[in-house]
Amino acid sequence: MNWDWSNVDAFMPRFWDGVLVTLQALAGGAVIAFVLGLIWAIALRSPTRWVRWPVAAFTEFIRNTPLLVQLFFLFYVVPEWGPSMSPLVTGIVGLGLHYSTYTSEVYRAGIEGVPAGQWEAATALSLPKRRTWTAVILPQAVRRVIPALGNYVIVMLKESPQLAAIGALEMLGEARGFSNETFTFEAISIVGLAFIVIAYPASVLLRVLERRLVR
């Protein structure tokens, strides 16, 4: 078989639908990953081990098991005793939960990077705990980890095709559907190129941002 551009044209409307779903999954997943990751990172610094240990065990387990199986778990097991979610929502929760365990490590590094003098100053000013975090530590910690968080958004983008396995019609899902219906093969190549076209400029942009923000 040879390459046929008319198949590409026919695929294009569905491709854009897929791009939209991919971006929705990415945006939702990133928000969950950023918020949950911060919660994990702060919980891991808790003075009580009854908070620290369960959170450490949970994040360690999520981080070292495949996202794909977690998606199946969320999609097939959770509805047995919890809410049943659409494929896209399941995917957003799965992506967000999985990568929150990575972003928590990023936040941890950022928090550890804040000089000890800042903590001491907050203590000396007898700032309450909440204000120490929100006004002193986090603004400094988060600023220097923004590029690293951005890198994980790119990783999430590249992992988002796994949502197709639970039936979310993001880029790969649309391409697979189109290929199976028309017995053509161009669609997957287009989607593959699309990922490179999105991910490469994004990573170049982040490198520029990193040089600006970190120093």
Binding site: E60, N64, P66, E105, P147, P161, M171, L172, I188, I196
Partner: protein, 247 residues
């Protein structure tokens, strides 16, 4: 919950396939990361650019889409047929090799320049310098990020179930369809992956201790439950060198 026959006929071979795919794709990724990693510091500019392009392209590729492309598009477009798990191994090896090349490049660049210069002064060829001086010193630095990458690769092998290779995840899905229950199956799957990751980490920590002892460094202290990931300045997942990481 699980019938014995099914377990023996599908689940155990599934675990075996997962192990095989992990092994073969790790071997391929290892070779690719060394070749590309070394070439990214090659004296010739064209070679450097080509190796850099390989890194950038495969780092920007979604491994699942690439796997689909190799498994379904390549056979139609180029009339090449892959057998069994070859397509999956190829896709995983090439993409994770790109991440690995950053580990190799970073570790080689961290070897003090005086070492390289000493090699030049002794009239070593480039290959000799790499083999005798630079790689032995960079090797202990590479092992922690390689450990993290290996766990990522193990997790990545679950993707081959989507191109219908009968690995652990595939047999889990099959079992769900046959038995109509899912909670015990997926829980077991997650635990199995975690146990495999744990065992791989133990093995890599052992290698790391040996490598460090060889060049006279004390091993990093980590307890049995000190977490599976190694602290490293190179992020194996994003393939970047220490962005805002532990400094």
């Amino acid at each position: 919950m699980m019938t014995g026959a099914f377990f023996e006929n599908w689940f155990l071979p599934g675990i075996w396939i997962t192990l095989q795919v992990t092994f073969f794709s790790a071997a391929l990724a290892f070779v690719v990361s060394f070749v590309v990693g070394v070439l990214r510091a090659a004296p010739s500019r064209i070679v450097r650019i080509l190796a850099g392009a390989y890194f950038e392209i495969f780092r920007s590729t979604s491994s699942l889409v690439f796997m689909f492309w190799i498994a379904f598009t390549v056979p139609m477009l180029f009339h090449i047929q892959f057998y069994g798990m070859a397509a999956g191994v190829l896709a995983l090896g090439l993409t994770y090799g790109a991440y690995g090349s950053e580990i190799v490049r970073g570790a080689l660049a961290a070897v003090p320049a005086a070492q390289r210069e000493a090699g030049i002064a002794l009239n070593f060829t480039r290959i000799q310098r790499l083999r005798r001086i630079e790689i032995p010193q960079a090797w202990p630095e590479m092992l922690p990020p390689f450990n993290n990458l290996l766990i990522e690769l193990l997790k990545g092998t679950s993707l081959i179930s989507l191109i219908t290779v009968a690995d652990m995840t595939f047999s889990g899905n099959l079992l769900r369809l046959v038995k109509g229950e899912s909670a015990p199956i997926y829980t077991l799957l997650l635990v199995l992956y975690f146990v495999l990751a744990f065992l791989l980490t133990r093995g890599m920590r052992l290698l790391e201790r040996r490598a460090k002892a060889k060049i006279g460094q004390a091993p990093e202290k980590t307890g049995l439950f000190g977490g599976l990931r190694s602290r490293s300045s190179i992020d194996a997942v994003t393939g970047t060198a220490g962005t805002g990481g532990a400094k």
